[in-house]
Amino acid sequence: MSVPPRPEVGPPTSWHFPVPEVHCLSNGLQVWSYHRPGQYVVSAALVLDLPLDVEPVELEGIASICLHTLDEGSLRHPGSLYAEELENSGAVFGGAVTLSATTCSVEMPVTAYAEAMHLFAEAVLTPAHADDDVARHVALRLADIEQHRANSSHLAGVLTRGAVFDPRSRAARMNGGESRSVARVTPDAVRDFHRRWYAPDGAVLVVAGDFLGRDPLPAIESAFGAWRGTGNRQLHTRPGGAPGVTRIIRREGAVQTDVRFAAYGIDRNDPRWAPFQIASYAMGGAFLSRLNRVLREDRGYTYGISMGAHPLRQAGYWTVGASFRNEVARAAIDETRELLDVRDRPFTTSEVAEAISFITGIAPLRYATADGIVEQAAALASAGLDPTYVDRNLAQLRTVTPDQATAAYVDLVASGPDPSLIVVGDPETLGDLADLAEDIPEL
């Protein structure tokens, strides 16, 4: 049987991140809307300019409780009446709290667009925040924290944030708060938090979908137009970094050891950002990255090891994470540490070319759906950027040279702040590292 020759890959097609129609309501709310033919589920995200620094330290977690109680009843539709109305329309409510923003979101069938948009605004603007609902969500959040403590990978993630950031920074603790402060959150405090911080000042509403030839704006104006600003704006602060530490957490009976290397890093505005994206992909983003090729494909130590660069609005951090079977965990940690040092093995021309090709080539796919566009645009809004950033970033990525990638990486990883090492597992298998073993901490 004759084998056809291996085909060459054709040149990439020119592609740009879609340009939204931008409107500004009279109350200051910005609207970015994307008409996307064939996308019959409209995705909407309201990004509130709400840095978590506004949470009182003793009530950290209150922003999450406030968000997750929004759809438990509104002033107009108290109790489960609200969820009934929303779910009857086919819509689903969601949201997330990050260090720089609270994002409320809704997915709705386009055929129920106007109705669901009004219900969405009703939850955001006039939630009931009833006593029993808030109390229940506090209890559920405390239960969630216990589940996180019981899961090695979650626990490693939580401890990573604590190791990377200055403990005086909000970034050092979970976005949803830790048990001591969450337990103090009261219904009155949540209602007060909502009154004070939920406002159109600095907020962006992103919507995308196939609007079936209709204008999406009138429903937004009618739903959000009466929302009044408060004038309360909090400046975004840059979290501080912390010196590297090693923390080894004892988990009896764990059949794997969860490992994280991590350190303080940069945000999207840093000139090293594009080269660092390229370098971290070559080190631990690609399937055949330096780390995964050796630790998974050659050694069989892990299901996968990856490196990620996580930009915040200001500053950021990078992580390398994997789970290894206990017998090889120490060898894997040592080998990872060696591989992370590129000073004698700079990134090559082909590594950089493949990273550029992947990150720029995957963009049309990643942003082909309404929710893909909204997720990215909302992330940019919460970082204080506008959607033209995507094209600017792609253009910068295309010009990165191997020298630039290596230099940015060496700056941030090899000669930057000492990375922290977080290990959750069985300390007996770790040799001299295990002197530092601690029991599972309270969160």
């Binding site: 049987m1 779910e87 129920a112 794997q256 493949e354 796919l365």
Partner: protein, 426 residues
């Protein structure tokens, strides 16, 4: 409520070697999704060789006659594409989504491993991926609280020699026992063009897609006849079989499970909607009776659609601290009994229909997911166009349909029970 009528174009044909090809052009973005659904899953494994279909999926990425180990993944990513494979009870799927300029390379890579996988297979590759799969099992099942839920559930609901009597991930002992001869035999038995559906969705025309499929796959011969025992439907469970697990989990939890009919049976859609009314969202019956009433931290119910004989329906609740599993199970049973006796309200049916429509349209918004659904409908129903008709069929279901299906399949006397009890100090 007004609803969207889907009309995804579909071009469906079969090559001379039996490969089914379905093409659905969509020119909204310069990308193409390629999806191969092979009609083989862990349900085809034999005793002592569990985990094999999935281990095999890993080996499909370890090189073929003209491709080096790992190179398939490396080339697709370097072309700006995404790539992976997954294995379940009923199928193994391999999928890529690439810029149009990489479509030919993608088809060539898929064809090369189907044609020449065994040329590249060696003991080192097998040993390495065996370790990787064992790490996957540890990471996703063995080292996670409640990670063994489904293992216990399938053991409660299906006999050990049933296709669904063991999990796709398999057992460590069976993975250790896998030999090169097993891998060769598995490939020869199950991997051939006549047992696969190739779906392309995206920025490609039907004529070009057909010509490319023929160019790269047309010369691969069909496989030998595959003896495959048919799986008779099992009757509903009786006697309320029960497993109690004491484990290092933060909270007690209760799982209920039922045998329900397989994919293609009209009752299954009604049961999916019934479990949606019972367990989906803040308005669901379980959420009201368990979470709002402070007995449980969370609850849900769903149907897992399966092809051979039976599917599985599951209800779940995690106890609030200090609430016993007996109390939670009793509340679940009461909620369930009320529903089965009287069925849903008209509003609940309409709500479940609206929620299903939004979820279905949302899933299909992504060309990769759309390609996978087409592969599934073609393989399991011989009807790719059902993607366009499903919503209309769901809209015709009534209270009476949901009630009748629930009374036939979901009575609590036909349930199995799995209880987790937290070990002291966990």
């Amino acid at each position: 409520m007004e609803s969207v009528t889907l009309s995804y174009p579909l071009h469906d044909y079969r090559l001379a070697n039996g490969l089914r090809v379905v093409v659905s052009p969509d020119h909204s973005s310069p990308v193409v999704a390629v999806n191969l659904w092979y009609d083989v899953g862990s349900g085809d494994e034999v005793s002592g060789r569990t985990g094999f279909a999935h281990l095999f999926e890993h080996l499909m990425f370890q090189g073929s006659g003209n491709v080096a180990s790992g190179e398939h993944l490396g080339l697709i990513q370097a072309a700006g594409g995404s790539v992976n494979g997954t294995t379940s009870f009923d199928r193994t799927n391999y999928f890529e989504a690439v810029p149009v300029g990489a479509l030919r390379l993608t088809l060539w890579l898929e064809a090369d491993r189907l044609r020449t996988l065994l040329d590249a297979l060696d003991q080192d590759n097998l040993n390495n991926q065996r370790e990787v799969v064992k790490e996957e099992k540890r990471q996703r099942y063995d080292n996670v609280p409640y990670g063994d839920v489904f293992e216990h559930l399938v053991q409660l609901v299906f006999p050990p020699d049933h296709p669904y009597g063991h999990l796709t991930i398999g057992s460590m002992a069976d993975l250790d026992a896998a030999s090169l001869d097993d891998v060769r035999a598995f490939f020869t038995t199950h991997y051939s063009p006549d047992r696969a559906v190739l779906t392309m969705v995206g920025d490609v025309g039907p004529d070009e897609a057909r010509q490319l499929a023929d160019e790269y796959f047309g010369a691969i011969p069909a496989g030998p006849e595959r003896p495959r025992p048919s799986t008779a439907p099992l009757p509903t469970l009786n006697g309320v079989p029960r497993t109690v697990v004491r484990a290092a989990v933060p909270r007690d939890a209760v799982y209920l499970a039922w045998r329900v009919p397989p994919v293609g049976d009209p009752a299954l859609e009604a049961l999916s909607m019934a479990t949606s009314v019972l367990g989906d969202g803040l308005t669901s019956r379980l959420h009201r009776s368990l979470v709002r009433s402070e007995l449980a931290e969370g609850s849900s119910a769903f149907v897992m659609p399966l092809a051979r004989g039976n599917s599985l329906a599951v209800a779940y609740a995690r106890c609030r601290e200090g609430v016993t599993t007996d109390d939670v199970e009793a509340a679940m049973v009461t909620t369930w009994d009320d529903f089965v006796a009287d069925g849903p309200t008209e509003i609940e049916v309409a709500r479940a229909q609206a929620q299903l429509a939004r979820a279905w349209l949302g899933d299909l918004a992504d060309i990769q997911h759309r390609a996978d659904v087409i592969g599934q409908l073609t393989t399991q129903r011989n009807d790719p166009d059902f993607i366009n008709r499903r919503l209309a069929e769901v809209q015709t279901l009534t209270r009476a349909d949901l009630t009748a299906a629930s009374q036939r399949w979901l009575r609590t006397e036909h349930r199995a029970v799995l209880v987790y009890q937290a070990e002291e100090g966990a």
